[in-house]
Amino acid sequence: MNSIRPSLAVEVAGLKLKNPVMPASGTFGYGEEYAPYLDLNRLGAIVTKGLSRNPKAGNPTPRIAETTSGMLNAIGLQNVGIDAFIAGKVPYYRGLQTPVIANFFGNTLEEYGEVARKLNDVPEVTAVELNISCPNVKQGGIVFGTEASAASQVVTLVRQALNKPLIVKLTPNVTDITVIARAVEEAGADAISCINTITGMAIDVRTRKPKIANRTGGLSGPAIRPVAVRMTHQVVQAVKIPVIGIGGITCAEDALEFLIVGAKAVQVGTANFIDPQAMLAIIAGLEQFLVAEGLSDINQVIGSLKI
């Protein structure tokens, strides 16, 4: 057996990552919350909670409900707002050796543009992830992310406003995700991440009320993995820019499904709640897989699908 450790390094949208594993936005707070459980420097990147121009209070409670092998959430994009983020959260990133990707959204085109410009001046933020896919907020993502021309419009605008790598995150709640993927590629996205949550609903049969105050919420977790793998495969086939796979990843084998269909990196969401150290186990598992298969580089696995 080879005693040289295999390389997990990948490059996504110009970012050099030490490994392809990062948290999914909204499931890892601003990073600091999980620092007691894992060394943030071991992650490929950190992705922040979704940010907006103004602070957002989010939805009424209950905001979460467990479903079979999944969970619904309607947090409503609660966040401190871009200014408080820069003042209060960014300083913490200074000591880190891991790139920070700021996820953000807007309720109007102007808001998107404004947040993008503010992030330009924050050297601690290496890249941004544009959420055009949040299914929770009525005036929010859903309008942009389910319609190619609207998606194109917001990406074009942010691309012009921004001087950093731009990752665009897609919603799965569409008939044909490749149409949206191509539109955002043409509009200047440097990478695509997919998928965000699938809209779902659960009912408390005794009270006859939705289990989530917002009525519907976004379904995440292992339940959605097959849908996420399928869409990642479709998007990889449809565009030339790199794709980050997201959806129901809990272990190295799950992550490998996305890498094999061609994702250059993956994001881990709900699994962080199940096990705060899940990402470390996934990184270790990827390395073990390479060793077991006699491979020296994770890039030999990426896109290795045989069909």
């Binding site: 007691p36 609660q78 709640f273």
Partner: protein, 287 residues
């Protein structure tokens, strides 16, 4: 062919990774022909995925004399079976593996030593009060514990509480143990006697709301421990928020139960109708 819901009689590893399982199956032999097969599945419900939050009841240490092993520290929870997650917990046996994250959250502020302390606990809400009682007694405070419940089955660990040095007063809605009636009745009485006391409460929302109203009316300091649906327990998912004092549609003020709580100063919370609804409704009684 039949559809059996049956039991395993034996399940033995006979060669590396190869097992032989014997299953109770009346009438099977008469029907089975060489080369046929069965479709099997262990009768497990699909289990829950997320962790579940539980108050720390107490901690302890198994002395070496118990079993010759080095001393082993443990922690204890007291929980009620209310749904699938707690059902699965209730079926665990000694030696079964479990994943635990903690201790988490902000606990009680003990306040000045020597002051009168009144603890109010309803049903499973008694859980966090045990370590609190111990700490207050150690601090030199006089501690009265008002234990409430729907029936006697909700009054837990009385002997243990008493042994820890707190005075216990039991009341049940149906009078099956202690005084008949709501624990709030006892609280009113005690507060009339000790108007300077500080109150600590944990229990179902209707009880907490009533306790909060009583304490507010008497301008008595109150800390409450709340429950909320939680995914992460560490402040990352923002699923567990409650409305803080001064919350309104235009100036929303949400606090994370897992991080700013689960113990709050009652005055920091919004005790309006909305909070009572948003908090978990346990059916009015004590779980």
């Amino acid at each position: 062919m039949k559809n059996y819901a049956t039991i395993v009689l034996a399940n033995q590893e006979i060669s590396p990774s190869i097992f032989r399982m014997r299953i109770l199956a009346p009438g099977f032999a008469a029907a089975a022909q060489p080369g046929q097969f069965v479709m099997l599945r262990p009768a497990l419900a699909l289990p829950t995925m997320l962790r579940r939050p539980f108050g720390v009841f107490r901690t302890g240490c198994l002395p070496p004399e118990c079993d010759g092993l080095p001393p082993r520290e443990y922690m204890e929870i007291l929980y009620k079976v209310v749904g699938q997650g707690t059902k699965i917990l209730s079926e665990l046996h000694q030696g079964d593996r479990i994943e635990l994250l903690g201790p988490l959250g902000r606990g009680f502020d003990l306040g000045p030593p020597g002051q009168e302390k009144i603890l109010v606990g309803g049903g499973i809400g008694l859980v966090p009060l045990f370590m609190l009682g111990e700490a207050l007694v150690a601090q030199g405070s006089r501690v009265r514990l008002l234990m409430g419940g729907r029936t006697r089955d909700d009054i837990l660990a009385v002997t243990e509480f008493e042994r820890s040095g707190v005075e216990t007063y039991v009341s049940t809605d149906d009078g099956s143990l202690g005084e008949a009636g709501f624990v709030t009745k006892v609280l009113e009485r005690k507060l009339s006697k000790y108007p300077q006391a500080e109150v600590f409460a944990c229990g179902p929302t209707p009880m907490l709301t009533a306790v909060a109203a009583i304490c507010a009316a008497r301008q008595v300091n109150l800390q409450v421990s709340l429950e909320a649906h939680m995914a992460c327990g560490v402040g990352a998912c923002l699923g567990c928020v409650v409305k803080g004092a001064g919350h309104s549609e235009s100036t929303p003020r949400y606090l994370c139960t897992c991080k700013a709580g689960p113990v709050f100063q009652a005055s920091d919370l919004d005790w309006g109708k909305a909070t009572a609804e948003a908090a978990i409704n346990c059916g009015g009684g004590c779980k």
